[in-house]
Subunit: 94 residues, 2 copies
């Protein structure tokens, strides 16, 4: 494999792994959204915050290790933060 192909393959793998972790958080948000009308689990907010922090550390590391661009990393976080904000808004309106 040429070095540019190797770098591309490592970058793609990094993005896939980060997206997988982001998807897990997305799933947590969806589940809580679906349960809005039933009951609010008090630990949900803490679990989501912890998971978001973990993902942001992974993304920050991937950027510093030059595996992904600053922009690609931010994109993953911004989308999740938007969904989280919607969830908290919905929770507050209850």
């Amino acid at each position: 494999m040429s070095s540019s192909n190797l770098l591309l393959s490592l970058s793609q793998k990094a993005i896939l792994l980060l997206q997988e972790d982001a998807d897990k958080i997305e799933k947590l948000i969806e589940v809580q959204m679906e349960n809005l009308t039933t009951r609010k689990c008090p630990l949900y907010e803490e679990v989501l915050d912890t998971q978001m922090y973990g993902l942001s550390r992974e993304i920050d590391f991937a950027i510093r290790a030059e595996l992904i661009s600053d922009v690609a990393g931010k994109q993953i976080l911004v989308k999740l933060e938007r969904n989280l904000a919607s969830l908290y808004e919905a929770l507050n309106q209850k």
Copy 2:
């Protein structure tokens, strides 16, 4: 650069970055150890736990991204965990 050299360089960079983050936690532990005889800051434990969690997520990601070996990642964490255990032991003996 050949692809094996590139991989070596990316791996070395990843290890350096993780070691830098581990050193920051090490510094936090040392500071708290030095302050044992004066006073215990109640937030210290929480800050250390959060930082340890962040580092473990970075290391886990680096292993999954095939930048570092499982063994190299575990080594960084084990050393820190040993020092943390000594700190908590010292705090409990106060």
